[in-house]
């Protein structure tokens, strides 16, 4: 298939969107789901956020369950959660997503390291310190998926993925449960932890 240089679709949002999905064993369910957002362009401005579902199946929010979103742009993230995250197969039907508590984010600190051994994002706000650590990183892979193959099934997605073979999430110093496992994505076996730079979501034009 040949490229079309000027994509006819509508750019929805663009930025960084790494994630850490931890499981109860290779064949078990997800124990912890987390996504980080550094959005540089959207119809609702720019901003940062992290979604943490430490109890994905539990219909409870913070502090009863470790289900929360920390953000410095609530309106933008309401739009992204409703239009994108709720449609991703990993998050569909998770009671913790609907019940998560919305918290104000005060600061974000990126610790890129050497981009090979360790990469971290540290977020603080509303009495929560969240640490997301990606370890043992692979090389950057440029990915581009059609709407039929994208996580939302509605958008094209372009990104640069780096697989992390290990990862951990801490909330106020406590490690969240689960471990990185493998999964099939982009036609390869890759881990459930990843960095995603230069990510853009595009709504393709309706076929006339």
């Amino acid at each position: 298939m040949s490229r079309v240089s000027i994509n006819p679709g509508r750019v929805e949002w663009s930025g960084e969107n790494p994630g850490i999905y931890l499981k109860h064993g290779q064949d078990g369910d997800y124990a912890t789901l987390s996504l980080f957002f550094r959005v540089v362009l959207s119809p609702y401005g720019r901003g940062h956020a992290a979604i943490v579902l430490g109890a994905p199946g539990e219909a409870a929010g913070w502090p009863d369950a470790t289900n929360f979103i920390l953000t410095d742009n609530h309106r933008m993230m309401r739009w992204i959660v409703d239009g994108f995250v709720t449609k991703m197969p990993t998050f569909v039907g998770r009671a913790g997503l609907a019940a998560m508590t919305w918290l104000d984010l005060d600061s974000v600190e990126r610790r890129p390291g050497d981009l090979k051994t360790r990469y971290s994002e540290v977020l603080r706000g509303s009495g929560v310190t969240l640490e997301m650590h990606w370890l043992d990183l692979g090389p950057p892979l440029p990915v581009e998926v059609t709407k039929e193959n994208s996580a939302t099934r509605e958008h094209e997605m372009i990104s640069v993925f780096l697989e992390a073979r290990q990862a951990e999430i801490k909330v106020n110093g406590t490690l969240l449960p689960g471990a990185v496992q493998s999964r099939q994505i982009f036609g390869r076996t890759m881990s459930t932890a990843f960095l995603a730079f230069s990510e853009t979501w595009i709504t393709p034009p309706e076929k006339g």
Binding site: R3, I6, N7, V11, V40, P140, L141, E144, G187
Partner: protein
């Protein structure tokens, strides 16, 4: 348009943001040029780099002319000069390329909203404060360019383009001369002032 193969073959050279302002003089030459890089991944790490040709036709740096490379990661600035900027004819062939002075960028700050009416980057350090301002912003467009369509002629490039109808380069409070003009990218007429977000340069595999 996305390809049937989800992973684009090739090696990522760098990825990040790469906005620029090319101001033209009355003779349709360049009066001033600024190219800014906020790199999320490269073999030389993350960082921010400003290439400024305040006097493109002069092969000297400060204090005689504001021709500078400012960065918070010297290895990254060297990498970009060697592997990217030096391959773009418009930059490599300007006399200022040989007179660049490399300064530290102690503070870098972005403000505004690229989907509103104004966006800016401010880079300061070593006695120099450079503000890049983009206004009259158009809606974002996603581009995928083949090697024949890129400045280096070597890379496949993905980016999100936000053209700007007006722009200024302000050095220590003084606007550099020149006006935003037209240019053509991938057959599309666009502005010589632009924001580029989520930009990735990939070296395709040899045939």
């Amino acid at each position: 348009m996305p390809l049937s193969q989800p992973i684009t073959p090739g090696v990522v050279d760098w990825t990040g943001e790469n906005p620029g302002i090319l101001l033209k003089n009355a003779a349709d030459g360049f009066a001033a040029i600024a190219l800014f890089f906020r790199i999320a991944w490269s073999p030389a790490g993350q960082g921010q780099v400003l290439l400024l040709y305040g006097a493109p036709d002069r092969a000297v740096g400060p204090p005689d002319a504001p021709n500078v490379l400012m960065s918070d990661n010297y290895a990254l600035a060297d990498y970009l000069m060697r592997n990217f900027i030096g391959k773009l004819a418009a930059f490599r062939d300007a006399p200022a390329f040989g007179g660049l002075q490399h300064l530290s960028a102690n503070q870098v700050r972005s403000s505004g909203d690229p989907m509103s009416h104004r966006y800016s980057e401010t880079i300061s350090g070593d006695g120099l404060a450079v503000e890049l301002v983009w206004e009259e912003l158009e809606p974002p467009r996603a581009l995928e360019l083949t090697p024949e369509q890129t400045g280096t002629r070597e890379h496949v490039m993905f980016t999100v383009l936000v053209p700007a109808g007006q722009a200024q380069i302000i050095v220590n409070g003084r606007c550099l001369p020149g006006k935003v003009g037209k240019r053509v990218q991938a057959g599309m007429e666009t502005s010589s002032a632009f924001l580029y977000f989520s930009e990735t340069w990939v070296i395709p595999p040899r045939e």
